[in-house]
Each structure stands twice: as structure tokens, then as C-alpha cells.
């Protein structure tokens, strides 16, 4: 658990419209602005110290969100969540990322990149610039020191597509893992695909494999449970005394009354929710080795700080 959360790194903005739109760009509060190569001087003249964008230096990511794939046979009717956290976890901070996102996805993309502490650039539609600016402002307002990522599953990654899909579905099911090079006893469960315990052929069915991992870990040991939403994914940072719970809503709408359970007993908790003034945790309980609370309403992103 040596990978530390990069608390201060905010996503940058890629903007390919003319410098005449500089005022709109300034309103986003973006600390890093990228523009097409050759336009840096014009932007500087407009008051923005922009950098040239070189796509070759970035890994392009799919737009985050959900899809309802009615044509795909599945064990459930759960929506298909397009989330990129598993890619970032797999890359281990070695990559820089680029999102080219449709309307209403810019804030979500920024939140996702922030939660995983990666260097990312978001290219929004013009009508999404205010929302991106609002999210950047919110992210900037989140205080506190960087904390280690919390996970209790270690998984050895062979780099294959199959393992990638397994990572995706572990994230999808809020199973907290780290990609590791070798088994490590500090994890409750070490997953090495191709062993007797985790046969390679099982990984071909990523959904089933994620279920297998969950069974072997047991629900009692899960670090995070979410009740009342199929489209919210979480990530944890923390130390012996506190936990920061990041909750990202990929669904596009608001989620009401979501119940969250975090393993471990924390007597105090508070929430900050994007676009949620006066947000507060309700029905807070320390129970059976876990801490539970309700978030009355959240939109794209909420961060919950728990302390012993």
C-alpha cells in the first residue's frame, strides 16, 4: 500500500476553440490548460498560460458513464458501467490520460481522474465548461493530506485482456484491490490467475471470476458495500485512524438514500457532496465491525471522511 493518493493533482483542460473564448476558460479555474500546438502565444496574449497538447503523450480513455445493453446476455439487468479506474490502477501511475467527453460527462471525468490521483486532461463540449469548472472548484475545496489507497485484495496482473476485464469487474463490484507483482500477506486475499485457486479458464468469464473473488474474500471482509445504487463506484484511502471514501456516481442522475457500509469502526463522519449544499450523513451507525451511513442525495461525486 505504498501508492499514495495525490491529493493536489487536479485534471487539466484541453480546449481547441479560439482564444476569444478565454473568459470562459478562466471561469473554469483550470490550473493547467492545453491548446492545439501553435496557439500557445495567442492564448498567452489572452491571459492564459497554455501548453501545447500532444496527444501522443496521453492515453485516451472512453467517456465514463453507464449503458443499458439490453442486447447483451447477462446474469442480471444491471447497467453496464463504463469506468476507467481499473485502467488507472493497472497502469500504476505511469500514464497520463486524456478524456474527450460528450455533454454532461466532463465533471464525471474530472472526478474520476481526481479520485485515482492520475494526471489527466479533460476535453469538454463548450456547454459543459461551467459544470467542469464547478467540479474543479469542488475538487479544489477538498482538504486533507494524501492518504494511502486502502485495499484488501492483491491481484497479479499478466497484462492480458482477460485480466483487464477481471480488474474492471472487481472495480464494478466495489471490491478494493491493488495490482501487485507478487503475493503479499498483508492482503486478505491474493489473486494469481492461473493457479489452482484461480484457474485461468475461469478468468474467461470475468463476471463469474469476480464472483469467485468475492466468495473467497467473503462479504464480511469487504471494505466497502453500497446499497441502493447499481451505478456508484467507490475508492478508499486511509490509515490506522481514518478513511476517506470516494463515491463516484456514473449514472447521470441523482442517487437518493444510498446506504454505505465501510469495514472498521469509525465514530465520526462527514460528507462533502458535489452540488450538494448542506450535505450530511444520516442514520450513522457503528455496527458489527463496520460503519454505516446514508447519503440523502448525491450527484456526480461525494467524499466521506471517517475518523475513529
Amino acid at each position: 500500500m505504498l501508492s499514495f493518493f495525490l491529493a493536489a493533482l487536479l485534471p487539466g483542460l484541453y480546449w481547441d476553440q479560439s482564444p476569444q473564448t478565454a473568459e470562459a476558460v478562466k471561469k473554469t479555474g483550470a490550473e493547467r490548460v492545453y491548446v492545439p500546438a501553435g496557439q500557445e502565444a495567442a492564448w498567452k496574449a489572452a491571459g492564459i498560460d497554455a501548453q501545447a497538447f500532444d496527444a501522443a503523450k496521453f492515453v485516451k480513455l472512453p467517456a465514463p458513464g453507464v449503458e443499458y445493453r439490453m442486447d447483451v446476455a447477462a446474469a442480471t439487468s444491471l447497467p453496464w458501467v463504463d469506468a476507467n479506474g481499473w485502467r488507472m490502477e493497472r497502469d500504476g501511475g505511469r500514464c497520463r490520460y486524456y478524456y474527450n467527453v460528450p455533454w454532461r460527462k466532463a465533471a464525471l471525468a474530472a472526478a474520476e481522474a481526481y479520485v485515482y490521483g492520475v494526471d489527466a486532461v479533460v476535453h469538454p463540449e463548450a456547454r459543459d465548461v461551467p459544470a467542469l469548472g464547478q467540479m474543479l472548484g469542488f475538487l479544489r475545496s477538498i482538504d486533507g493530506p494524501g492518504l494511502p489507497v486502502l485495499a484488501n485484495i492483491g491481484i497479479m496482473d499478466d497484462g492480458s485482456d482477460e485480466t483487464g476485464e477481471v480488474l474492471n469487474l472487481l472495480s464494478r463490484r466495489n471490491l478494493m484491490y491493488r495490482v501487485i507483482a507478487a503475493p503479499d500477506p498483508k492482503y486478505d486475499l491474493n489473486v494469481q490467475i492461473g493457479t489452482k485457486e484461480f484457474p485461468k479458464e475461469e478468468a474467461a468469464d470475468a463476471y463469474g471470476f469476480a464472483t469467485l473473488v468475492r466468495q473467497k474474500l467473503t462479504d464480511e471482509k469487504r471494505l466497502l458495500r453500497i446499497y441502493g445504487s447499481d451505478v456508484v463506484l467507490g475508492r478508499l484511502n486511509g490509515d490506522d485512524r481514518r478513511v476517506r471514501v470516494h463515491l463516484i456516481n456514473y449514472g447521470g442522475g441523482k442517487v437518493d438514500g444510498m446506504r454505505v457500509r465501510v469495514r472498521g469502526e469509525y465514530q465520526h463522519g462527514k460528507v462533502k457532496a458535489f452540488a450538494g449544499q448542506d450535505a450530511a450523513l444520516t442514520e450513522y451507525e457503528v455496527v458489527d465491525g463496520g460503519t454505516e451511513f446514508t447519503i440523502p442525495q448525491m450527484s456526480v461525486y461525494a467524499v466521506v471522511d471517517l475518523e475513529k
Binding site: T211, M258, H268
Partner: protein
């Protein structure tokens, strides 16, 4: 802001032993964990003071089959006679007073899953509200409730009851659990789903002292029939459709298990099964009128198992008369995906589980054996 609460979850004593007994009979059942801070009442509402007793009132003129217009005076008489037959009182007011008084906050659990084609008939609900008023329960102490807002809105109960009666739904937005109590739930993992909790509707925990269960007489593609047990179970808990995500469903054991959860079990003190209309295929919905029929009867009791046992025969007899597969038929030959179920009474989506009623009897919820059920029949 934060309560430092201790856990008060426990497996309910009243339910644990029967569950263990049932599990020994059905060892492949899912493992259920019931979490509630409520202890059972000395005499839980189900099966209540009249186990194995059902008052059954039939009135030919209760509803016009062509127009589906309800005859209100007849419904009033059916309810009066049914309540008297159940309790043995000469005056229906005394019958109602056995169950309710002016201090009660009463939830009326309607069923609107088939609305607007079939639902707890507004005229029936109106008469229940009127009788509650007679024994001193004010409109503001009465809640008509269901899970889904869109279904209830289509019925317009507000047009049939006095101002002040609450009309409440748990889910304004489908899937939201804001309307459910986070501390009263059944935890079970059926197929690896991530959300393993089904939570009890908040007003059952926070407001009601008593509940009247008002189901319809309907076929149900997964559970066989839907009557008292299913209406009070699946109609009061979140996240229950997951029990029928596959051809072989878990309705067999989940319905009864949910009905045992306190305080739901103790507070559900009266069942009035509204069989003016019925659905013999396609339930619990009623998209096509061709599968509706008109039993023109109502059942009254405190024992949901006994009432549902009678319902089983009502639905199965009708299906036989219509040359449809029996609710007991477990053949896979009739099961097809797609929309055929909605139109063809010999196509099913799931293996029906009418055995859920007998299973509920093993949880102590009532009497299943027909020979031990006392039916008090009234013909108007």
C-alpha cells in the same frame, strides 16, 4: 450529528426456530439473515387471533363485469358481513373495534402492481377508511401505501377517501431506497448480486401501529399466485425483484421470510382480500383485459396462509377452466422468454412457486392444511 449506537440486530426468536425447521426440510434454500431491532408482539398480527379462519363473502352484484363499475352499497355490506363472520360479533363496529382504536396509526397496504386494470379497489379502500373512522381513527392517522408512485398515481385513491388520509409510496424514483428503513432488512445473496439487502418500508417502522393488508386475487408468473403473503412481503420491502432473475426463482422462501420480519409481522393485524376483480394469467400485471375475471368475492382473516391457500384454488380452477397450465406445473416445456407470456396463458417465464404458501406455514404464519381451515361462507 452521529449517534453512537450499538448493534441491535438479532435473529428474531419467533422466526428462527421455524426457519431452522423449514431449512431442514429444504436444505438448498438460500441463507437469510434478518436484521431488526423489533421484538414480536405477544400475539403477532399474523396469524393473529383467528388462525385457520377465513370469512368468505360472495356477492354477484358487487361489480358489473362489462363496465367494471363497483356497487358501493354491496361492497359496504360485504365488508360488514365479512368482519362480523370473522369475529362472531353482531355489530360490525364491534368487529372493527377488536382490531383498531383511536390511538392507532393504520397503514393500508394496497396492491397496485396491476393498476389501472386491477388494484385494491378504491371503493373497497374507501369503505375500510370509513370503518376505521367509525372506531375513532382519524383520517390523518391513516396511510394508504405501496412501493411505486407511478402505479398508485394511476388509481387516484385521493378521490375516494377523506382529506387528510396519507397516500404514500416508497419509491418516487424506482430503485431508490430512501423510503426504506436502513436498519430493518433481510440480507440474502441469491445469485451473486452486489446489493444483498431488502429493506422494510419506513412508515411500517416509524409510524404504523397496525396494518391492514388488501391484496387482490391474482396469478403470478413467479410465485404462482399473489395474495396476502406476497402483497405484504414484496409490497413492503425494497430490492425484491432480484428473487426472480432466473427461471428457477427464490420466491418459494423469500416471500414467507419477509413476512416474518418484525415489526411487519406483528403489526399486520387484518387481511381483506379484494376479489371483486381477479387476474388468472399474466399477473401480477394486467395489461390485457382478456386475462381478468370476476370472482366477486372478498375474504377476511388474520391468517394470510389460510387465505392464500383458498386463493390458490380460485386461480388454479380458473386456469383449468381456461385450459391453461396449472400453477403447479413445473415443466420447462412452457417456459419461454420474450413477450409470449403476456398473450398466451400456456407460456410461462418462470417455474411458478405456489409452494411458497405452505413454506410460509412452516414459519408460523398460518394454517395451510385445507382440512384445518374453517371457511365461513356468506352469499349476498
Amino acid at each position: 450529528m452521529i449517534d453512537d449506537m450499538k448493534r441491535r440486530a438479532f435473529l428474531q426468536a419467533a422466526a428462527t426456530a421455524p426457519v431452522a425447521l423449514a431449512a431442514s426440510l429444504h436444505e438448498d434454500l438460500p441463507k437469510y439473515r434478518i436484521v431488526s431491532r423489533f421484538a414480536p408482539a405477544a400475539i403477532p398480527g399474523m396469524p393473529g387471533p383467528y388462525p385457520g379462519v377465513v370469512a368468505r363473502v360472495h356477492a354477484e352484484k358487487s361489480i358489473d363485469e362489462k363496465s367494471e363499475k363497483v356497487d358501493v352499497p354491496t361492497v359496504r355490506e360485504m365488508i360488514a358481513q365479512g368482519m362480523r363472520a370473522l369475529t362472531g360479533d353482531a355489530d360490525a363496529r364491534d368487529s372493527w373495534a377488536r382490531f383498531f382504536n383511536s390511538a392507532d396509526v393504520v397503514g393500508i397496504k394496497v396492491n397496485c402492481s396491476g393498476a389501472p386494470g386491477i388494484m385494491s379497489t378504491p371503493e373497497v379502500v374507501s369503505e375500510i377508511v370509513r370503518n376505521l373512522g367509525v372506531v375513532g381513527v382519524k383520517p390523518i392517522q391513516i396511510w394508504i401505501y405501496e412501493r411505486f408512485r407511478d402505479q398508485v398515481d394511476s388509481v387516484h385513491y385521493d378521490r375516494y377517501v377523506p382529506a387528510g388520509v396519507h397516500i404514500w409510496t416508497a419509491e418516487h424514483n424506482r430503485g431508490s431506497i430512501a423510503g426504506y428503513d436502513p436498519n430493518t432488512y433481510v440480507d440474502v445473496n441469491f445469485f451473486g448480486e452486489d446489493d444483498t439487502r431488502s429493506n422494510l418500508a419506513r412508515p411500517v417502522v416509524e409510524h404504523f401501529t397496525k396494518i391492514i393488508n388488501v391484496p387482490n386475487m391474482k396469478d403470478h408468473g413467479a410465485s404462482g399466485v399473489t395474495g396476502c403473503l406476497k402483497n405484504i412481503a414484496y409490497g413492503d420491502f425494497s430490492n425484491v425483484a432480484r428473487s426472480h432473475s432466473g427461471i428457477k426463482t427464490n420466491t418459494y422462501s423469500l416471500i414467507g421470510t419477509l413476512a416474518t420480519v418484525e415489526p411487519l409481522r406483528s403489526r399486520t393485524v387484518l387481511g381483506i382480500m379484494d376479489g371483486l376483480r381477479g387476474v388468472w394469467h399474466g399477473g401480477p400485471f394486467s395489461p390485457s383485459r382478456k386475462f381478468r375475471f370476476y370472482p366477486k368475492q372478498m375474504m377476511f382473516g388474520t391468517d394470510p396462509v389460510a387465505m392464500d391457500r383458498l386463493l390458490l384454488d380460485v386461480i388454479d380452477d380458473k386456469r383449468k377452466a381456461e385450459h391453461a397450465t396449472s400453477v403447479w406445473d413445473r415443466s420447462l416445456a412452457h417456459i419461454k422468454s420474450g413477450n409470449g407470456y403476456d398473450d398466451n396463458p400456456n407460456i410461462d417465464r418462470y417455474i411458478r412457486e405456489p409452494g411458497h404458501i405452505e413454506y410460509a406455514s412452516t414459519l408460523g404464519l398460518g394454517v395451510y392444511d385445507l382440512d384445518k381451515i374453517q371457511v365461513r361462507k356468506i352469499e349476498l
